[in-house]
Symmetry: C2
Subunit: 152 residues, 2 copies
Amino acid sequence: MKPIAYASNQRKEVEDDQWGAIVTTITLAEELPDSAIASIDSFSHLEVVFYFHKVKEDKIIQGARHPRNNKDYPLTGIFAQRGKNRPNRIGLTTVELLEVEGRSMIVKGLDCIDGTPILDIKPVMEEFLPKSSLKQPDWTRDVMRKYWDTAQ
Amino acid sequence: MKPIAYASNQRKEVEDDQWGAIVTTITLAEELPDSAIASIDSFSHLEVVFYFHKVKEDKIIQGARHPRNNKDYPLTGIFAQRGKNRPNRIGLTTVELLEVEGRSMIVKGLDCIDGTPILDIKPVMEEFLPKSSLKQPDWTRDVMRKYWDTAQ
């Protein structure tokens, strides 16, 4: 796999929370033509697949852990949480597309740091959203409480 | 990247439509412990990141094409559509988790064929869904018309 784009924003270090106000510029990798994002502004939202490039091999969890290493949360399989220390180090977030400028997309709500390699971008279509109501455990509500805060 | 699981279902060949009734069993790769999916049944929906392993290198689109090669649809960048012939060949779909049996997850709504390698699984949380209303172009409505049909 090769990066198809790179993220650029003001967050230089990984932090748990306060991703709400972060605006990120995603710029296509040099090898790709401008036309790779032709008409992308006909969509309001994108799914961004990225690579947690700062995660060291020896930090990857193969089994279960307490989310955020907080023992108040239940022991949970790595594929039942969204933490970054996961096999294949794939990140995935739905963002709002604010603007397209040439080979760049300005997006809001991307929770990755400056310099992150992007592996794929897909347009969000209503038909791919969940078709029935969601169930999620209580610990996720607690973890997400300040995640999208707009304070910096 | 290495597969973390494999998909098994009754669809042996790629088809454009009628994915609605397909039920898929996703089974963890041998190297991973059972605990990698501990408590995953506390979620109703999962995001499944998979690899379009049947797509040949020379079929990959780097720029734009008409979705489904239909000239009635506008010329659209590969990252402004969800077609499989894309750089890095990453597929991504939100599925409903029906049941967990040991090292396997039974899911509905996964649009990949039998034997597909899975690269990641993440639980769906409401806080990661789009936070504002969606905009998408008319051609997507046409393309998606029969996509989730339950006829076989």
